[in-house]
Amino acid sequence: MEQHGSDTIIGIRGLKKSFGPKRVLDSLDLDIARGETLVVIGRSGCGKSVLLKHITGLVRPDAGEILFEGEDMTRFDRKKLFQMRMHFGMLFQSSALFDSMTVGENVALPLRKHSGLGDDEIMRIVGAKLDLVGLTGVLDQYPAEMSGGMKKRIGLARAVAMDPQVVLYDEPTTGLDPIMAAVINELIRTLQRELKVTSIVVTHDIKSAYHVGDRLAMLHEGRIIHSGTPDEVRRSDDPVIRQFVEGRAEGPIKPI
């Protein structure tokens, strides 16, 4: 069962979204508790990223509501949506760094636009955030000169620059070597501990999901079919979940 109550920071009710004839989200319900790290697992293309884009207001649903601090954000106008996003930080699958700007400018951008702080203070925060993700001496380099793992870490530093309440991760370990994936996993846990943020991670990397998640939710055919602690998921005898976590080709989930 989903948790309800005052500690829910984001509540999703009956979310529906279709792209053409394809129904991606089908009456999806999900609650995210303040301070938890929720990992949404599921196959590639099952709608995990679409769910994340709904939570951030980048995509509007066909039906249903998404409550952020009790307010339905699907009805927000752009101004209110922008105000809400000040409390959000997002790490994109492709890192989405602005390639016309240096690393320092990338991380400083949200602060320059919204914080009203002076240049020295901004650069101090930028340095601190880059330290947090384990990068130093890269301020004046351009993203094109960086490796995939470094880009992810810079993206993460930018995502937490404004000290958000909620950090969203879209496939944080996809395309990284196993060591870098472990580094990113560790970083997600560190940020969780040090910044006390609520985190939503979407991934198909089950190892990463076990490592970073307080709670795992499995998205299948447009709905959350199961949610529980990593141990509960490990012990689940649901055939769909078993097939996914064990990575088998045979089972109820048909390869597309």
């Binding site: 884009k53 752009r78 997002m90 760094l97 390639d99 636009k113 919204h114």
Partner: protein
């Protein structure tokens, strides 16, 4: 059945695009009060779009003027004295060739570059990232480009008019033996300031179309490299077609209603 499906898809896409363009224009209007806050970006785009297009406009205009002179002389042959060469070159350049050809060549260059740039930003999620940082992509990307192009196209057209007439004059002098004085007095003979103003009025709209099409198709990019290529092509085709269509309606509006000849 298949032709109806293709036709249906075509109309659906057409109306979707038309709607999308009007939504973009509406959002652009809403960001207009923030123009001064984005002054630096506007100047940067004026430089990239305007100053960057000078070599292209220079070559195009000189040769267009030159060929106009040659073609006019060919048609005059045996009917009209060549001292009227300046009149014809001047009139056709100022009214039509300067504004339209500048818009077409600059349109190809600028709308392709805008669509490719914004399209790449779109497929690498940089536009989404801007939204997530609560930065409006319309204000930060579209506004400076549209203003830059709308301001600079008339400037480029003045430059183009001047060079095209110069090109025509040089060719008239060198290969058709019309003296500079004769050409200039022909030019002055039927010159009307309203022709120049009317021609330039059109170019504000052309500049707007060029940047808007680049931005719209850039934002609508889907997929990867192929999507960026497709968006670039659509932007160039749309801006060139819209320039030619708008040219007819604007010419009718300006020269038949606004500056209607007294009857």
């Amino acid at each position: 059945m298949a032709p109806f499906v293709i036709l249906g898809r075509f109309f659906l896409e057409f109306f979707q695009d038309t709607g999308g363009v009007f939504i973009l224009i509406w959002r652009l209007i809403q960001t207009l009060p923030r123009t001064f806050a984005n002054g630096r970006s506007v100047f940067l785009q004026m430089d990239r779009i305007g100053i960057g297009s000078i070599p292209l406009v220079l070559v195009t205009s000189l040769f267009v003027g030159a060929v106009t002179s040659v073609q006019a002389a060919y048609q005059f042959h045996g009917y009209v004295p060549l001292k009227y060469l300046g009149t014809v070159v001047g009139k056709s350049v100022i009214l039509e060739l300067g504004p339209v050809l500048t818009a077409l060549v600059v349109g190809g260059r600028v709308s392709a570059s805008i669509a490719a740039e914004l399209g790449t930003m779109k497929v690498t999620e940089q536009i989404d990232a801007m939204e997530m940082i609560a930065i409006d992509p319309v204000e930060n990307l579209v506004l400076p480009r549209v203003l830059g192009a709308t301001i600079m196209l008339p400037v480029l057209t003045i430059f183009s008019d001047f060079l095209a007439i110069l090109g025509g004059m040089v060719v008239a002098n060198v290969s058709l033996h019309v003296s500079f004085n004769a050409f200039a007095s022909g030019l002055k003979l039927l010159f009307q300031t309203q022709d120049l103003i009317g021609g330039l009025m059109k170019t504000f709209v052309f500049g707007f179309i060029i940047a808007l099409m680049g931005c719209y198709h850039g934002f609508e990019t889907r997929g990867g490299a192929e999507g960026v290529g497709l968006a670039t092509m659509k932007a160039v085709v749309a801006s060139c077609l819209l320039i030619l269509i708008a040219n007819y309606f604007l010419a009718s509006l300006i020269f038949r209603i606004l500056f209607a000849p007294a009857s």
